[in-house]
């Protein structure tokens, strides 16, 4: 995609938290469906959004269209070119300043003025802050296409009225003009004029989806948000629809935000791809590069799961262990670290990850080396303080050997294959009462989406500059641990 083309859609730090209502009076926290998502979409470009079920793809589409209101963040759409460039420049500058760890007074001041400037622009131009009346001018240029063709068309209306609806509501076209346009559209999607006089239930899924497309392109939009447009269709029909979408894009120069869980569809359709995990963008780059030189461990696992007829290729399949964590209570640090095959000690290990392994480590039946360790009654985790208390059944008179044994056990676990989480333990000490051992873990680093190569954004500590050393350090530690054994 040529960089010279104008940016049509710019999404900045978009967040959507759904409240969990446990009962009428008490709120039960929130589900982070979208957590700080940013990207830009140029004119005529297709951005694919891919990820597992529940990673926030659909929420992203709906929030961009403002079918649901965002919790925070901004969506800039279809602004004049110079204004859009100004916005991107300022937002980028603000992000850069936010990343400075200990900003000087000057930088803080700069941030404040930038924030004030931006707020002015945001209130005026961001779709998330607009009044619904003003929003109407923008809605004309962005249209949704839904996943389920059986519920996206009004069953009571003739196809004629279904297609006419957005033109009637959003433009000033006369009914004759609308009808002329409809005839044109229905030919374009490969149906004939008499189909206008039928009800949606008289069509197959693929035909309905085509009617949905005709409805969306009728008023001359610039952006289509396609939410899994082919997932409900069978494979031969999928190909038809995808080819039609490509033709329409070439003809009308539309931009697509193409949401799908189907990697091959994304590969066919998208110019660039954003891989999402638990409401965050894990990796964002050109499609070709993503499929050949992916960097994020999650992307690697995801792409290795594409079925292949070549038995040789199947060997490299990465199978992720565990479940997707609940977005209501996401892990600390990088959301992916509990399942990540390449996790490091600073990736976000917290007491809830480590409590189980410590318990089994101290279980003398499983681990004979722990038989000298005093009996424990419970393990108490404290996520806030990133610490974990091992409560012993009786006070220990001689503390030193117990601590030494514990450290030795931890060392041993850390050098084993899955023991990277034990490396995150920073200090182990007895509390005053003598029955509690407090284990404190290091504060995790949170990865942010960074441009590691030109046009290749990854949100992973492996590719953060300063972490490169830590990674080596980890390797070093591992080698020394094995040598001392």
């Amino acid at each position: 995609m040529s960089e010279s083309k104008k940016v049509l859609l710019y999404v900045s730090h978009l967040k959507k938290y759904f409240p969990i209502s446990s009962n009428l009076l008490k709120s039960g926290g929130s589900v982070r469906a979208l957590d700080d998502v940013s990207f830009a979409l140029r004119e005529g470009e297709t951005l694919g959004v891919v990820g597992e079920t529940g990673c926030g793809k659909t929420t992203l589409g709906r929030t961009v269209l403002r079918l649901i209101d965002a919790t925070a963040g901004d969506v800039y759409f279809n602004l004049p070119e110079d204004l859009m460039n100004k916005v991107i420049e300022k937002e980028g500058e603000l992000d850069r300043l936010h990343e400075i760890e200990n900003p000087s007074a000057e930088e803080i001041k700069e941030m404040e003025t930038l924030e004030a400037d931006l707020d002015e622009i945001r209130n005026e131009n961001s779709l998330t802050r607009m009044s619904s009346r003003k929003m109407k001018d923008f809605r004309k240029f962005m249209q949704p296409i839904f996943q389920d063709p059986f519920s996206s068309l009004d069953p009571r209306k003739l196809v004629k009225d279904v297609i006419a609806e957005p033109m009637k509501l959003l433009t000033e076209m006369s009914s004759d003009e609308i009808f002329e346009k409809e005839k044109e559209l229905i030919e374009e999607i490969g149906l004939s004029e008499d189909h206008l006089y039928r009800f949606p239930h008289e069509f197959s899924g693929g035909q309905r989806q085509r009617i949905g497309i005709a409805r969306a392109i009728g008023i001359g939009p610039k952006l289509l948000v396609l939410d899994e447009p082919t997932s409900a269709l069978d494979v031969s029909v999928q190909a038809q629809i995808l080819n039609m979408l490509k033709e329409i894009q070439n003809e009308l120069g539309l931009s697509y935000l193409f949401i799908s869980h189907h990697l091959n569809v994304i590969r066919l359709m998208a110019d660039r791809v954003a891989v999402m995990y638990l409401g965050r963008v894990a990796e964002l780059t050109d499609t070709d590069r993503l499929f050949t030189e992916m960097l994020h461990p999650y992307t690697k696992a995801l792409l290795s799961a594409i079925p292949s007829i070549d038995p040789g290729k199947r060997k490299g399949r990465i199978i992720l262990e565990g479940e997707i964590p609940s977005p209501a209570n996401p892990p600390k640090g990088c959301y992916f670290h509990p399942r990540c095959p390449e996790a490091m000690k600073n990736c976000g290990w917290s007491p809830r990850d480590i409590a189980g392994p410590i318990r089994s480590m101290l279980e003398p039946y499983r681990n004979p080396e722990a038989k000298d360790f005093p009996a424990i009654t419970e393990i108490v985790t404290d996520e806030e303080a990133n610490s974990l208390d091992i409560v012993l059944s009786a006070p220990v008179p001689n503390r030193e050997p117990v601590l030494a044994l514990f450290n030795e056990l931890v060392e041993k676990e850390a050098s084993s294959g899955a023991g990277i989480m034990f490396k995150s333990i920073e200090s182990v000490k007895f509390l005053e009462d003598g029955t509690t051992i407090r284990v404190v873990q290091m504060e995790p680093d949170v990865p942010t989406l960074k441009e590691v190569r030109k046009g290749h954004f990854v949100s992973c500590l492996l590719y953060d500059k300063p972490i490169e050393e830590t990674k080596e350090e980890v390797m070093e530690n591992a080698s020394t641990a094995t040598s001392t054994d």
Binding site: R133, S151, Y197
Partner: protein, 330 residues
């Protein structure tokens, strides 16, 4: 000029059959819907009989004869304890019964539709609150509540008459309808086509009344017919228990007097069977109508009617053309 006039005439003849076609289509559809058809026939027959009886009863219902006469040619259903002609009494009381039921059911339906639509369309607090109210009213046992309200109203506002029964029907009946409509409205509001209309910036109010309400018409019809049945049964049971206004003439009050003056013990079936049977027949009639309405308003049962109409209209101008050319030839 001649051909132009010809054209005009021909166009007129094209329109006429199309109109006919649609009306016969409706009629055949109505006739082919056996439930709706038979239900309507029953209700129409009852109403005609009731109207006739209301205006032309054989005797004045308050005229007195010898009491407890057996059926005879002079008094087809005999006379009651007070010496009134039972047939006249019965014929006159059907219309008031239906009137109370219809007024009560219509008002209860209004409440049910408003609460159901708004409760179903909006999500969050409004929905929860309305659902809570619906559930509370559903949980209150209907008959005791009705007894309490009607006796209370009788004591304080004895001049309300028919309206007091209507109020009882609204209070006890709306929740059932509201729950049905709310459930359907929720399902409709969550569909993608409603989302699409929201995207075009339509206001919630217009979406509710122009998109959601029309697609619920079949359910509203269904709820209405069921509410009528409920209203008739409630009304007659209250009057049977002697809780209504004494001045109200209704099938229920006939049953009340029949029960109080030992019609069953004395084996005077002509006193209590006709009103009881009429209530049952009205119930069956509206029940069949509600079954039929469900199928007629369901969009998936509509067919190629419009496409056929289009084809017909498309074919006609061709004929027209042929006609014209033949005219020219001649």
């Amino acid at each position: 000029m001649d051909s132009n006039i010809d054209n005009g005439e021909i166009i007129q003849t094209i329109h006429a059959p199309a109109k006919q076609g649609s009306s016969t289509n409706f009629l055949t559809k109505f006739l082919s819907n056996r439930y709706l058809f038979s239900g309507s026939v029953i209700i129409i027959a009852v109403v005609i009989f009731a109207l006739y009886g209301y205006f032309f009863p054989p005797y004045n219902p308050s005229a007195t004869f010898a009491s407890n006469l057996q059926p005879s040619s002079a008094h087809l259903l005999g006379t009651n304890y007070f010496g009134n002609d039972i047939l006249s009494d019965f014929m006159v009381s059907i219309i008031p019964t239906l009137e109370i039921a219809l007024i009560g059911a219509a008002l209860a339906l209004l409440v049910a539709v408003v609460v159901g639509l708004f409760g179903g369309y909006f999500s969050g607090m409004k929905n929860e609150l309305l659902a809570f109210f619906i559930n509370v009213f559903l949980l209150i046992p209907g008959l005791p509540l009705a007894i309490v309200i009607s006796s209370g109203l009788e004591a304080s506002h004895s001049n309300l008459g028919v309206l007091s029964l209507a109020i009882v029907i609204i209070v006890t009946g709306w929740a059932f309808g509201a729950r049905t409509i709310r459930a359907q409205a929720m399902s409709i509001a969550g569909r993608d086509y409603i989302r699409f209309i929201k995207h075009t910036g339509e206001s919630d109010f217009r979406i509710i009344f122009r998109e959601v309400l029309p697609s619920l018409l079949s359910y509203i019809g269904y709820v209405f017919t069921n509410l009528i049945i409920f209203a008739i049964l409630l009304e007659t049971s209250l009057l049977f228990l002697g809780l209504g206004n004494e001045s109200i003439i209704s099938l229920g009050s006939i049953l009340y007097f029949a029960n109080n003056y030992d019609a069953i013990l004395l084996g005077e079936w002509w006193w209590f069977i006709p009103p009881g049977l009429t209530i049952a027949i009205i119930g069956v009639g509206f029940g069949l109508m509600s079954l039929g309405l469900d199928t007629i308003a369901n969009p998936t049962l509509r067919t190629y009617k419009n496409a056929k109409k289009f084809e017909r209209e498309k074919r006609q101008p061709e004929k027209n053309h042929l006609h014209e050319s033949s005219n020219e030839e001649s």
